[in-house]
């Protein structure tokens, strides 16, 4: 690891100020720290976001639940369960206990790994990403593999989730990393169903409009029969071909619907 300065602000304002000089934000560090250990990143200055009380915790808001940007997955798995069990279950499947105790929701969606679990929940729930400067609808936030609408130095302070009537996440794990080879998040709201798929596409997390339409008409596994996704934009790597991923999108969506009940 290259040497670096570590800044540990206690307030959001101090964090924003510290990031103004081109420093790198550090949340749970579950992607950034291994990258630095391999000397593939040399950020110079890290600004830790985990010691800022206003970025922590799960609470009920006017229109759903609000999760602080630096809230670890394990806390979401535990504390969101009574409000939004589908989301809590997803958080409880990320990585392993060590990852869940360090990794945070803000860190995950700021990184926007195409195989990460959280983007599926955020997009599939139609959540709102709150930053230090604005609010961004999930549909406008995820811009492709490792790309988001965040500006330089912008911090995810919270994510606001509307709570659906039913929701579930079905994850097909990549056998080495246990990231999602394909993960499908389905959420049934009063005004329709949202389906978000992670792990599969070269463009990162995406919604599946045909499945949403079919499930909005009938929230049953059978409603998905005959629906397929083209393999063209799917990720192909040593863990799965594009065709296999495209196939698994259908299977995992069906299983998510079955799990949602």
């Amino acid at each position: 690891m290259h040497s670096f300065e570590l800044v540990k602000p206690k307030t959001l304002a101090d964090a924003v100020a510290a990031l103004a000089d081109g420093a790198q934000a550090l949340s749970g560090g579950q992607t950034l720290l291994p990258t630095m250990k391999q000397r593939l990143a040399d950020p110079g200055t890290l600004v830790s976001l985990t010691g800022i009380p206003e970025l922590q915790g799960v609470c009920q808001g006017d229109a759903g639940i609000i999760i602080g940007g630096a809230t670890p997955h394990a806390v979401v798995a535990r504390e969101a369960a009574k409000y939004y069990p589908g989301l809590a279950a997803l958080a409880g499947q990320i990585g392993d206990p060590a990852v869940r105790n360090r990794g945070t929701i803000g860190g995950s969606i700021a990184n926007n790994d195409p195989s990460a679990c959280y983007p599926a929940a955020v997009l599939g729930s139609g959540a709102t990403i709150v930053t230090n400067t604005r609010e961004i609808a999930a549909d406008d936030y995820f811009l492709g593999m490792f790309e988001t609408a965040l500006e330089e130095g912008e911090i995810v302070t919270a994510v606001k989730f509307p709570v659906p009537q039913k929701a579930a996440y079905a994850k097909f794990v990549q056998p080495a990393s246990r990231f999602a080879l394909v993960g499908a998040f389905v959420a049934q709201f009063a005004d329709g169903v949202r389906v978000a798929i992670t792990g599969a596409s070269n463009n990162g997390v995406f919604r599946w409009p045909e499945a949403e339409a079919a499930l909005s008409a009938s929230f049953t596994p059978e409603a998905l029969k005959g629906l397929t996704l083209p393999a063209d934009d799917m990720i192909a790597d040593l863990h799965g071909s594009a065709e296999y991923r495209a196939h698994l999108c259908g299977v995992m969506t069906k299983r998510a619907v079955m799990a949602a009940g």
Partner: protein, 727 residues
């Protein structure tokens, strides 16, 4: 066995007892001491610059800037090191071409990850900073083949009439010890003391001595706690030489410890062979001929034991069966990390192709696979080299059938299939030859009345100390706690082989047994006049010796003997090779929508000979099974255009605790005539039999006519096999 040993045996029953491992208390409390835990005040650190480029010609290598960086003590390139000899390669096959280690690439890089420069600095980070400042250019050129070898076993058989055929492509896999390799070299007199994470301390010493130009008495190798090896720490590696060379040249302590990335890029790999075989069968289900061809990749250089898998695969066919054989195995260097022995080392490759052929023949003839094997197993063992020393193969099958309720399982399988369940049963019958040659042991009565047992075998987590103490306690009618077991230090055991090939209990244990028997005889001779009885009437116990109504404590005896202590050294040459064996049934289901494989249950009847300690045997079997499951279902090293694609655990899949199926173990021993204890090895069994059983179960589950699948059996492959879209 003389009379006194027989008496002792009647009085003690330490052998066969399920004792907890004496090593665990210390290791589980974090009190283990591994090479990288060792410190010295003026220690400096070695790091290796590895070529990021695949094979090619070095057109630029400039260390000028790096040499001037803070904390940098020295930077070596190939021009700066002076090996006094080529690294040793065991020429196990006649006429074998050898390709020795290049500790640092000279004119050409032969594979990505090959060491190009060694940087010694006051800290690891400074050494790594300097490594990044070295300027290296490589112009891509195809890697020439450095060495080829081919060997033949059995007889040349004529063409077969309508044989069954099978082909297998094994993936390259990582031996993956939990503790990465490490070496710590300290100048000592005119030579060195080298702490090495190794399974072969004596060979490490000999190979280092040759390359450094030192005499044997100038170099001491110590293997402290070693966190797994599996063949990956059996042969001298470039970093071992470079670290020792640096310590000798700089005359200060130098340490190198591999990162996980180093291990993926440059540690030895295992497997990787492809095999094609055909077997002739008559209408009664008798196999009348077996022709097999293996091709092994060697990587870009050959560690000491590189040819052992080739030889093992060739020599052990037809395994537990009686079939005329015509076996060819070839090996050649390839671009990539060196390929060497890995737990099983050729035995898994032989077992898998043979067990596939048995199932193919059974299917063609409409015979149950269990019966197919019964018709072909060896029932009369010949005392010949490269054939099983003992074993009751029909008995293994009978026991497996009984413990699994095999007939009922087959019936249930038909019903499940009718309900759309994709399920399969897979058998494997395997043999495990457990090593040849010598091992040493010495046993001493110490001044305090305790015993010191020094074994030439080494330990990497097997529970060696526990087993050796039980052997000595059994022979001398002592309590195991009275015995200190020492290993892994060439100053204490100048001669020995180490832990390889499942040999340590069969050969090392036999050596220790002989040492204990010899000590008992000497004690009887020495004590008879002191006790006033005949030597044959001297009896030993935890307290000491007694006879003729008199007794003498062990410490008193030691004091009496004074400067001429009771000590026995044994150099034991195994008269024959012990062969373990076993039979396994794997029960699997495949998710037809995703291809995900679930192993519902494994049932395993093993013949490891006389068991010293069932706890240790179970540990070896289950650990090997985990690695066997990994090799069959998920592990693979993948290169693309010469670059490693599986350079971390994000891409290299290892089995975890949750991947382990229920495994039911049953012990059905037949004593080995190859050693006085009747013991056999058990270390490699899981890697040999388990993958073959899994592959057979998967093929049983898949539609008839499914082409041969390559390893590992990933979910996508199984999904494609089920949907008829195999690529």
């Amino acid at each position: 066995m003389d009379g006194s040993v027989r008496n002792a045996l009647q009085n003690s029953s330490w052998m066969g007892r399920a004792m907890p491992r004496r090593e665990d208390d210390r290791l589980l409390r974090g009190q283990g001491v591994f090479v990288d835990d060792l410190q010295a005040p003026d220690c400096v650190f070695l790091e290796v610059l590895r070529s990021p480029y695949p094979a090619g010609r070095i057109t630029a290598l400039d260390v000028t800037e790096a040499s001037g960086m803070d904390g940098v003590i020295a930077i070596y390139t190939a021009a700066d090191i002076t090996p006094q000899a080529d690294s040793a390669v065991n020429a196990l096959l006649p006429g074998a071409e050898l390709a020795a280690m290049e500790p640092l690439a000279r004119t050409h890089v032969r594979a990505a990850g090959q060491a190009v420069a060694a940087i010694i600095a006051t800290s690891r980070d400074r050494a790594r900073d300097a490594a990044e400042a070295i300027w290296l250019e490589v112009e891509g050129e195809p890697a020439p083949t450095r060495a080829r070898t081919q060997a033949h076993w059995g007889q040349t058989l004529p063409a077969f009439d309508n044989p069954v055929r099978a082909s297998i492509a094994h993936a390259l896999v990582a031996p993956f010890a939990m503790e990465p390799r490490a070496v710590f070299a300290m100048p000592e007199g005119t030579g060195l003391t080298v702490w090495l994470s190794t399974q072969t301390p004596q060979r490490g010493r000999d190979d280092l001595c040759a390359m450094l130009g030192l005499d044997r008495d100038q170099l001491r190798v110590i293997a402290p706690d070693v966190g797994g090896a599996f063949g990956g720490k059996a042969s001298l590696m470039p970093e071992d030489y470079l670290t020792a060379f640096a310590a000798l040249t700089l005359q200060r302590p130098v340490k190198w410890a591999a990162t996980r990335s180093d291990e993926f890029l440059a540690a030895t790999q295992g497997r990787g062979a492809s095999s094609h075989a055909e077997m002739a069968v008559d209408a009664t289900g008798r196999a009348t001929g077996l022709r097999a061809e293996f091709t092994f990749p060697l990587g870009h250089w050959m560690p000491y034991s590189a040819l052992a898998p080739v030889r093992n695969a060739g020599r052990i066919l037809p395994g537990p069966y009686t079939i005329p054989c015509d076996v060819t195995a070839a090996a050649e260097t390839t671009e990539g990390a060196a390929v060497n022995i890995y737990r099983g080392a050729g035995r898994p490759e032989a077992a898998m192709i043979l067990e596939r052929l048995m199932d193919r023949a059974a299917q063609r003839l409409g015979i149950d696979p269990m019966d197919m094997r019964r018709r072909n197993v060896t029932t009369r063992l010949a005392a010949q080299p490269d054939t099983p020393c003992s074993g009751d193969f029909p008995g293994l099958l009978d026991r497996l059938e009984q413990e699994t309720g095999y007939r009922a399982l087959r019936a249930a399988q038909s019903q499940r299939r009718a309900q759309g369940v994709v399920c399969g049963l897979g058998l494997a019958l395997y043999v495990e030859p457990c090593g040849q040659g010598l091992e040493t042991a010495s046993l001493r009565l110490c001044e305090d009345g305790r015993f010191l047992a020094i074994t030439g075998s080494s330990a990497q987590g097997q529970g060696r100390e526990t087993a050796m103490a039980q052997i000595v306690a059994q022979a001398l009618n002592l309590h195991p706690q009275q015995i200190t077991v020492s290993h892994g230090d060439t100053a204490l055991a100048p001669e020995g082989i180490g832990a390889l090939a499942s040999r340590s209990t069969a050969i090392g244990g036999a050596a220790m047994w002989r040492a204990a028997s010899g000590l008992l005889d000497r004690a009887a001779t020495l004590c008879a006049p002191l006790l006033g009885c005949a030597p044959a009437d001297v009896v030993t116990s935890a307290e000491g010796v007694c006879g003729g109504g008199n007794s003498l404590g062990w410490a008193d005896l030691a004091a009496h003997l004074g400067a001429d202590p009771l000590v026995v050294h044994i150099r034991h040459e195994a008269a024959a090779e012990a062969w373990a064996s076993g039979a396994i049934l794997a029960e699997v289901v495949i998710d037809p929508e995703t291809g995900v494989l679930t192993i519902e249950r494994m049932t395993w009847v093993d013949d490891a000979g006389i068991v010293i300690n069932p706890v240790l045997v179970q540990g070896q079997l289950l650990g090997g099974a985990a690695q066997g499951i990994g090799a069959a279902t998920m592990e693979r090293m993948v290169y693309a255009d010469g670059q490693l694609q599986t350079g971390s655990l994000m891409d290299y899949a290892l089995p975890r605790a949750t991947d382990m199926p229920p495994i039911h173990l049953f012990s059905q021993p037949t004593p080995s005539p190859a050693n006085p204890l009747g013991v056999k090895g058990v270390g490699e069994a899981g890697c040999i039999g388990i993958p073959a059983a899994i592959l057979n179960a998967v093929m049983d589950a898949l539609p008839q006519g499914t082409p041969d699948l390559t390893l590992p059996l990933t979910s996508e492959k199984l999904w494609r096999a089920l949907t008829g879209s195999l690529q």
